[in-house]
């Protein structure tokens, strides 16, 4: 049998040692008396070549060769070849949560380095060892703000990812949290800053804002975060980490917490996961954070060493009073992000972001020559543009898919009233020729 070491003679010796004749008696003595299930819906086992062939075939049933301009919080970035080689060290991926620090210094130090990289990226002082994904991180941030302020109202801009807002609603359904979404008019891309400011009251636990926002726009939230501060509500920034290579980090913008989806930091899109939620906070909220945290300390000889710390916040100690029910972190994904940021380095990470921005600006120029297509917004973009098309965006996307191109996301899927709008993302991976191809597809589309 695959992956089972015991031979018949091993089993005979072991049965003799425990005083059993066979498995039937073993089960009986363990008080398992249920009839053996037939499991008819399960197939017979497979050999490795058969298995690889089957999955090769299944993988080819995905259309992976699409020319993609899809984004919306998850992006197709270059991934250095060295990254997979490094994270494939089985000492990393076959270990578990570092409960025994003396036998887990590799994992622990990389968590500490990951936390450091996230702090440097966000301009915050403390980061945790990661959460499941961006959406669950937004929920955990909302819960944190409730713990800190003892208030229960959450103000969230509708320009925050619809995926994150949907998850926030699911996760908060049985929580004492009142979530108020501040809509954005269908002809606008920028958050409704005035309405956000007005919505914040002395009952508000936090205001949640995203930049760049879901429409690709980069608003100036200074007045909103200032209002929050004046009423002692927390400001939570939801960030696209690659954009932070060029943009002022949340820690320098009056935000108290930064969370988001770190898939763009070297993780494959992989049809939806696993992904990586990051969370970083100002030092004063350190003991209110959810999840694992690694800290630097010393051993008996005074040597520098790393360990999981501040565990009094966690479920295995606090049970129903824990900060969160999360048990572990997305450790291998956090390692991936750390190795990605290391391989790209200070200059490379900035260059990647600059290329995204330049190519997006180039697309904007190309589109200016197509009178039917309007690029919405005032001009503050990183790598996503919202286009107003002459016809329904959903229909256009279907046409383009036939030509092997996923040209963007029809915004009407997420926002009623935006049926003609298309959200187009450009990363450093898209070439000038590919961007021109997209422009041509838009130009030649049949709009009737």
């Amino acid at each position: 049998m695959p992956y089972i070491a015991n031979t018949d003679s091993d089993r005979a010796e072991m049965f003799a040692a425990i005083g059993c004749r066979d498995f039937a008696e073993m089960w009986q003595r363990a008080q398992v008396t249920e009839p053996v299930p037939t499991l008819e819906a399960l197939p017979q086992g497979m050999s490795e070549p058969e298995l690889l062939q089957l999955f090769q075939k299944l993988s080819q049933q995905n259309h992976s060769g699409l020319l993609s301009f899809l984004g919306g919080g998850y992006y197709d970035h270059l991934i250095p070849a060295a990254l997979d080689a490094i994270i494939s060290r089985s000492e990393f991926y076959t270990a578990y949560t570092p409960y025994q620090p003396e036998a887990s210094q590799g994992t622990l130090q990389t968590i500490y380095e990951y936390q450091s990289a996230i702090c440097r990226l966000t301009g915050m002082q403390v980061a945790n060892a990661s959460l499941y994904d961006g959406g669950s991180a937004v929920f955990e941030a909302a819960l944190l703000s409730k713990r800190v302020t003892r208030r229960s109202q959450i103000i969230i801009s509708a320009a925050v990812s619809p995926t994150f807002r949907a998850m926030l609603r699911t996760y908060s359904a049985c929580q004492d949290l009142a979530i108020r979404e501040i809509p954005v008019a269908p002809d606008r891309l920028c958050d409704d800053l005035e309405a956000l400011e007005q919505a914040i009251t002395s009952d508000t636990a936090a205001v949640i804002l995203q930049y760049p926002n879901f429409f690709g726009c980069i608003p100036d939230f200074a007045a909103v975060t200032a209002k929050a501060k004046s009423l002692r509500a927390l400001s939570i920034a939801v960030c696209y980490p690659t954009a932070l290579a060029l943009l002022q980090p949340p820690g320098e913008l009056n935000f108290d917490l930064a969370v988001g989806e770190a898939q763009p930091l070297g993780l494959s899109l992989a049809c939806g996961g696993p992904y990586l939620g990051f969370m970083a906070v100002k030092a004063e909220y350190m003991r209110k954070m959810p999840g694992r945290i690694a800290g630097r300390t010393t051993d008996l000889d005074g040597k520098t060493a790393y360990v999981l710390t501040l565990q009094a916040r966690e479920q295995h100690i606090r049970r129903e009073n824990a900060m969160s029910n999360i048990c572990s972190n997305q450790n291998l994904c956090a390692l991936t992000a750390l190795v990605y940021l290391t391989l790209l380095g200070k200059q490379g990470f900035q260059d990647i972001a600059q290329q995204c921005a330049s190519k997006t600006a180039f697309l904007r120029q190309c589109l200016a020559a197509i009178p039917e297509i309007k690029v919405l917004g005032e001009g503050n973009f990183f790598n996503e543009l919202t286009l107003e098309l002459p016809g329904p965006a959903g229909k256009f996307v279907q046409q383009a898919l036939q030509k092997g191109c996923a040209p963007g996301l029809p915004l009407g899927l997420y926002y009623p009233g935006r049926e003609k709008q298309l959200l187009v993302a450009v990363t450093e991976k898209r070439t000038r020729a590919e961007i021109t191809t997209l422009a041509n597809i838009l130009k030649e589309a049949a709009w009737n």
Partner: protein
């Protein structure tokens, strides 16, 4: 080792980008531009490879060491599944394709993998339906109890706001129930991890939404009265949740759905061999009986009459979205490959050999360590380090001494109901020789605990660092190197 940031030298690069093929320009607002680049390391590829390779060597992992961490099922992670997870057809597709009309046509392969996996899990554990969305075990627990909450609400039973949880449960059980808005009420267990039925009866009532029970229980025992327990809860109008953390003991042999459970989560990183990754990512699918099916997270994967797969979002009673898309796809993919490799027969071989290995350890270690329960165990055996306590040797010291002997320690101090607990889970993938070597090490440690306890209190001495100042770490937290 020094931090990666300390290896940085201005001007070093590890990765060359393609030359920019469009004019250098952007549309960023000047006022919101970052003043200084992010203080990331500047290293060569060799610097990075050497740094992380050397760090990895400071770890114990399943590939390098026997790792009998109780309740975590540290079995071998097959390499073919890693190769499958890296097939470009699976790694490249963008998940938002699933949201675009007809976009799921471009993801038929992935949808088929997930659809098959849902069927497999439902069949293996005896349930009607499965959702693959939960992104970890605890996330599965949360999903499961949210389904119970939704069921209560739908049936006008909103007064049912209490979740019963044994004192032997994992900490995630009460934490997940609390996150789903339940008040947790503790049920006593005896030393064998069996529920105190009198206590259960006393605590059941019209305010009870359900019971969360780990099966086999957290001391590695199978409770023959599980059916009776489920009946009692059902009679009181509640539902029964099965924590599947220990499913490796029963996979292919006992189906919790047949025992009366209404909902169960499965840890694919335990039972279905996906790598633990140093703490994640995992996946925590949730299986349900028909009564909970309407509340499952949306969208659902459906097979159309023409055999193709699609997503159904019109699920009015659904609790909503738990994962950003369909769950941790690449993790689920590995577990699907594992199920297909083993097949119907192989799944049962897993639990048979996992239980055999654990009982072998139990019998062989019994002369050297105290046991609260002496009856036959399931996939893990639990000892108490009480014999050596008077000599000052605790479970922690035994764990550290094992590290010096080349073994990852078992789980210690859990379950809380066992004093000085050492919970050992060998899994089915380990050989008898490995078990014998572990037994010999444990025997030697037991005799040292009697003759020379001081030798153990110093352990570990062979590791890159010795015992850590954990109190200092929590009192004066140093959680990041912030740079300049």
């Amino acid at each position: 080792m020094e931090l990666i940031f300390a290896r940085s030298r201005p001007g070093r690069r590890a990765y060359n980008l393609p030359k920019l093929d469009v004019p250098a320009q952007d549309c960023l607002p000047d006022a919101l531009r970052r003043a200084k680049p992010v203080a990331l390391p500047e290293v060569t590829e060799l610097d990075a490879a050497r740094h992380f390779t050397n760090l990895s060597r400071l770890n114990f992992g399943v590939d390098s060491h026997f790792y009998p961490l109780g309740s975590c099922t540290m079995k071998y992670n097959p390499k073919a599944h890693e190769a499958i997870a890296r097939m470009p057809g699976f790694t490249t597709p963008h998940p938002r394709l699933l949201e675009i009309p007809e976009g799921s046509d471009a993801l038929q392969g992935s949808l088929e993998v997930l659809y098959r996996e849902e069927r497999f899990l439902s069949e293996l554990f005896g349930f009607a339906e499965t959702t693959l969305q939960p992104m970890a075990g605890a996330n599965g627990e949360f999903t499961g109890v949210m389904l119970i909450a939704a069921w209560c609400k739908k049936h006008g039973q909103t007064q049912r706001n209490v979740m019963l949880i044994p004192d032997s449960a994992h900490g995630t059980n009460p934490a997940s129930a609390a996150q789903a808005g339940f008040i947790c009420r503790e049920i006593k267990s005896d030393a064998g991890g069996n529920l105190d039925l009198q206590d259960l009866k006393a605590k059941l009532g019209p305010e009870v939404a359900g019971l969360m029970l780990t099966c086999p229980n957290t001391v590695g025992m199978f409770n023959h009265d599980v059916k009776a327990i489920c009946d009692l809860v059902h009679q009181a109008g509640g539902l029964c949740y099965c924590d599947g953390a220990n499913a490796n003991a029963i996979v292919g042999r006992v189906r919790p759905g047949d025992l009366g459970f209404d909902v169960m989560h499965v840890n694919v990183h335990k039972t279905f061999s996906t790598p633990h990754g140093g703490g994640g990512p995992g996946a925590g699918p949730v299986c349900v009986q028909e009564i909970l099916q309407p509340f499952l997270p949306k969208p659902r994967i459906v097979q159309k009459t023409d055999g193709t797969f699609a997503l159904e979002s019109n699920c009015p009673d659904s609790i909503g979205q738990i994962a950003p898309f369909l769950g941790s796809f690449a993790v689920l993919l590995r577990s699907c490959a594992y199920m297909l490799t083993l097949g119907r027969e192989g799944m049962r071989r897993v639990s048979e050999n996992a239980v055999l290995n654990a009982n072998y350890l139990r019998v062989k270690l019994a002369p050297f360590f105290d046991q609260q329960i002496t009856r036959d165990c399931m996939h893990e055996c639990v000892f108490s380090a009480t014999r050596s306590k008077d000599n000052g040797v605790h479970a922690l010291d035994i764990a550290k001494a094992l590290i010096d002997r080349g073994f990852h320690p078992p789980t210690i101090y859990f379950p809380l109901i066992i004093p000085e607990a050492l919970m050992i889970e060998p899994t089915e993938t380990e050989s008898k020789e490995t078990l014998d070597a572990f037994i010999a090490a444990m025997q030697e440690i037991a005799s040292l605990a009697a003759s020379d306890p001081q030798a153990l209190l110093q352990a570990p001495i062979s590791t890159p660092v010795r015992r850590l100042d954990e109190t200092g770490a929590a009192r004066h937290p140093d959680l990041a190197s912030l740079g300049d």
